[in-house]
């Protein structure tokens, strides 16, 4: 890989040991660059383990705003002897390798094509800090300091971050600054600086925030009025529950009584979690759960019940690499098929695909409105990369006048004015029928909820014709849903292209970067970002309007591509998969390589592809 890095364009990777408190130092590094106005992205690569195994933190700095993952590490900060040689191997030719030279690396093991930056981190820390409990932590700050010098980072910004992190704790701040300066000074006295690639302030992060998707989902549920959450711990979804709880405790406690306007239950398993969500929604509260693939598998029966019994159900699926004992700490988009078709019998579901934390926030709220409006399960399909890494994104906003769309729910007054209430009567001919909440009216509106085997008035029947009517109405509702779900986002090439790229969720950053690379190379490409199923006419038109379509996704089987073909009846021959499924976020280089393979000559590309 040729190194095209330079000012505001490089990758730094920190190699640490799990459970040694490196996370906060590393985050500080990324945030400093962010506060310097330079776009940055940060990915945690961590093991399925609590303590003692290698963990990495990869920061990409890119002044053009490309914040997808990029391969090729310019500066490796290796503070884990366990992974040191692997880390050295993973450093780019011509790159820099900083390591803790308290234990020097034998000459013969070094690489010629890599610059070595030796710094005795542990020794420095031990020499300057008394309390052994903190030595480990300050070691981390020291390497941040060294990086600051090497990369021209603003010391004042770092100090400011420390002040924000430890408000009023002057002693703590002082010690941290001391460690920081130790690192900065060491670098100044031992190395040439800054490195050829480094940071220069910009103002491209003005107004933006750095937040992870799971926190945004949790906040979205708070603003969307979720009052019941039931969940079962599973990486990488656990922090959705943590965030919901944290913000509920902060924002949803009645100030007068000290009582909670929410109920959160850690259920005994995922089956119970979704059962609780269904029970609560049936009974008129907004309720949701968050889980990952194994949980969705376990919820399969219940999801079908919610589909057929038409109960609003919000489920956040933070996807990880399959299967259950798979790679829980790696990212993938491999639950698309499962989410879309979940359960036995004929079922299809509304899926939402956020691609930024801001969208996690907004779409979580949308999920509740859609679930209530459509009386069906809505699955928010996010993933580990989006959920657990901080992403630069727009601030969260909420329209103060927004009313929740609670859908077709009848009040006692409504019922009093009605002739007949039929729970499954398609009064409005949109496939969506009216429902009542238990306890509403003393003599009207009660009905018995079950899967199928019932007629329009919710009476038990095993009549085949009634079954078919109901199934067909559910399809009509599916049609209605097409106009209600978020529309795709288009990234048109002004010159009009024959090649179209389709992407969604966390493939977006790299897909957009790939598009700009390809356009720079002279290839015309249009882009479409999917936001939801079912697909609207616009999605179909995009596919029909292009000769060749690439669907970029992070799974082995091209799952979204299959769903597109199934739903839209387009010719599979013109729809080409660009796939990545090694558990790491997809890169622009990966995408462009695949596209070029299929379209060797940019100019005549689309013609050839068919």
């Amino acid at each position: 890989m040729s190194d095209r890095s330079g000012i505001n364009d490089f990758v730094v990777r920190f190699a640490n040991v799990n459970g040694t408190g490196s996370a906060s130092a590393n985050t500080m590094f990324a945030k400093t660059i962010f506060r310097m106005g330079v776009p940055v992205s940060a990915k945690n690569i961590f093991p399925s383990n609590i303590q003692g195994l290698p963990t990495w933190y990869e920061v990409r700095v890119n002044g053009e705003g490309h914040i997808g993952r990029r391969e090729g590490v310019n500066l490796m900060i290796s503070v884990n002897p366990q992974s040191m040689y692997q880390d050295l191997k993973n450093t780019m030719s011509g790159g820099y390798f900083m390591y803790d030279s308290t234990w020097p690396m034998p000459r013969e093991k070094r690489r010629e094509d890599v610059h070595f930056l030796e710094i005795p981190l542990m020794q420095l820390s031990n020499e300057h800090f008394e309390d052994p409990r903190f030595r480990q932590l300050f070691k981390n700050i020291i390497y941040v300091g060294a990086c600051a010098t090497l990369l021209n980072m603003d010391r004042e910004v770092i100090v400011g971050l420390l002040r924000d992190q430890f408000p009023g704790k002057e002693k703590v701040i002082e010690k941290n600054v001391k460690a920081l300066d130790l690192g900065m000074e060491y670098a100044k006295t031992h190395w040439e600086y800054p490195l050829p690639f480094h940071v220069t302030p910009l103002d491209m992060t003005q107004g933006k925030i750095m937040i992870d998707g799971n926190t945004a989902c949790g906040l979205g549920a708070v603003y969307a009025g979720a009052t019941v959450m039931a969940w079962y711990p599973i990486t990488p979804s656990t922090s959705v529950a943590d965030a919901f709880e944290k913000y509920c405790k902060q924002l949803r406690v009645d100030p007068e009584t000290g009582k909670n306007k929410f109920a959160i239950l850690q259920a005994e398993d995922e089956l119970a979690a979704i059962g609780i969500v269904i029970g609560a929604n049936w009974n008129g509260a907004r309720a949701f759960t968050a889980t990952s693939g194994p949980g969705v598998s376990l919820m399969n029966e219940f999801i079908g019940l919610a589909y057929f019994a038409e109960i609003p159900t919000v489920l956040i699926d933070v996807q990880r690499t399959g299967p259950s004992t798979g790679m829980p700490t790696r990212t993938q988009q491999s639950d698309v098929m499962l989410g879309f078709y979940a359960s036995h019998g004929d079922t299809k579901h509304v899926l939402l695909f956020p691609s930024t934390p801001t969208e996690c926030f907004e779409m979580t709220a949308t999920a509740f409105d859609l679930a209530d409006r459509l009386q069906t399960p809505v699955l928010l399909m996010t993933d580990l990369d989006l959920g657990m890494n901080d992403h630069m994104s727009d601030p969260l906003t909420w329209d103060a006048d927004k009313q929740y769309d609670k859908g077709k729910v009848l009040s006692a007054e409504d019922l009093d004015q009605m002739e007949t209430f039929g729970r499954y009567l398609d009064v409005d001919e949109d496939g969506i029928t009216y429902r009542t909440i238990p306890g509403t009216h003393p003599s009207k509106g009660s009905f018995f909820t079950r899967g199928t085997s019932r007629d329009e008035l919710a009476r038990y029947t095993e009549d085949g014709a009634a079954y078919v009517r109901n199934m067909d109405r559910l399809l009509k509702k599916w049609e209605t849903a097409k106009s209600l779900v978020p529309s795709p986002q288009f990234y048109p090439d002004p010159s009009g292209a024959e090649v179209g790229l389709i992407f969604f969720g966390t493939t977006t950053d790299s897909a957009l970067e790939a598009m700009s690379v390809l356009r720079n190379e002279g290839m015309s490409v249009d882009g479409m970002r999917l936001k939801a199923t079912p697909f609207s006419q616009a999605v179909l038109d995009f596919i029909l309007d292009h000769k060749t379509i690439f669907v970029i996704e992070q799974n082995r089987d091209g799952q979204m591509r299959s769903v597109l073909i199934n739903e839209l009846e387009v010719d599979p021959q013109k729809v080409i998969s660009v796939l990545n499924y090694d558990g790491f976020p997809i890169t622009a280089v990966h995408i462009t390589r695949h596209i070029r393979q299929h379209l060797p000559h940019p100019q005549s590309a689309s013609a050839k592809a068919l």
């Binding site: 506060r35 933006k208 925030i209 750095m210 906040l219 708070v222 603003y223 009025g225 009052t227 019941v228 039931a230 913000y247 902060q250 924002l251 949803r252 009645d254 009584t257 000290g258 009582k259 909670n260 306007k261 929410f262 109920a263 239950l265 259920a267 005994e268 089956l271 119970a272 059962g275 609780i276 269904i278 029970g279 609560a280 049936w282 009974n283 008129g284 309720a287 029966e301 219940f302 019940l305 601030p395 906003t397 909420w398 103060a400 927004k402 006692a412 009542t436 238990p438 306890g439 509403t440 009216h441 003393p442 003599s443 009207k444 009660s446 009905f447 018995f448 909820t449 079950r450 038990y460």
Partner: protein
Amino acid sequence: MSYKRPAFRHPDAAINEIGFHQKDYEGALSTLCAGCGHDSISAAIIQACFELSIPPHRIAKISGIGCSSKTPTYFLANSHGFNSVHGRMPSVATGAVMANKDLTYIGVSGDGDTASIGMGQFAHVVRRNLNMVYIVMNNGCYGLTKGQDSATADVGSSGKAGVPTMFSSIDLAGLALELGAGFVARSFSGDKNQLIPLIKAGISHDGFALIDVLSPCVTFNNTKSSTKSYTYVRDHMESTSIADFVPVKKEITASVQPGESKTIEMHDGSKISLSSIAEGWDPKDRLSAINAIHKASLEGEVLTGLLYIDAAQPPVHKLLNTVDAPLNSLQERDLVPSQEALEEINMGFR
């Protein structure tokens, strides 16, 4: 909102304190086998709710799958009902209770539904102390799927297929006691006099109330060799006590003799009075109840009645410290935090 009564009523038919007839608590015609124990339990539920004067629409009925779980269609037609999936009634009920603390919740399940596929959810709903009555219509077999043994079938007992059970049986009342339930009772579908007051007491209990009701399956498990047959249960029933439930608005009647009876007050002031309490057993002592069950079972007897009660255990909404209004009644103004809060949150992520 007015309580509209259906047009025609027999003038003589009794009405309860809130003006409802017994008929208002009935359901659709049962499609269970003639003689099925479950139908008698439905009748007892109807009677209990009528006598307690609960407005029918303030009751929610939730069940799993099975002949037993079908019964909510056959009682309380004016209540919302939910026939969910097999073994998962407890979780659906949990969600419902979370959403609205103010309704009365009746959960109905079978022994297969609870003790096999639903075992995990059962154990955990007990722990959670939901405010609900959990009725197991326990026939020791899988009625709806045609008579397989359930986990509550006693060792050596056999149903229509004639194959004696070989694995040790699960005593749901014993299990609930072990798991910390605050109200545990057992009864028999054929004993209305015992069952109705127990259901009433269970409904009034502010927390989780388990009533394990032996309910013979006439079609598949009413054999001579079954320990869940009408004959066997009738012959081997042993009562801890004769229960009499006294709602908050009524005085304790003279029928309960002091000295030989014990009266337990519920959170709402209503009382359950227990006469002729079995020796050495104290309805407020968990361990004594556990011992009594085990001893009876060793002798092949079935201990019925109110086995244990702790009226003071905090129910789930107290544990969760939720607001007084039902969560499902909260509106945007209650739920949406301020704009400033969001701005401050954004600031924290800069």
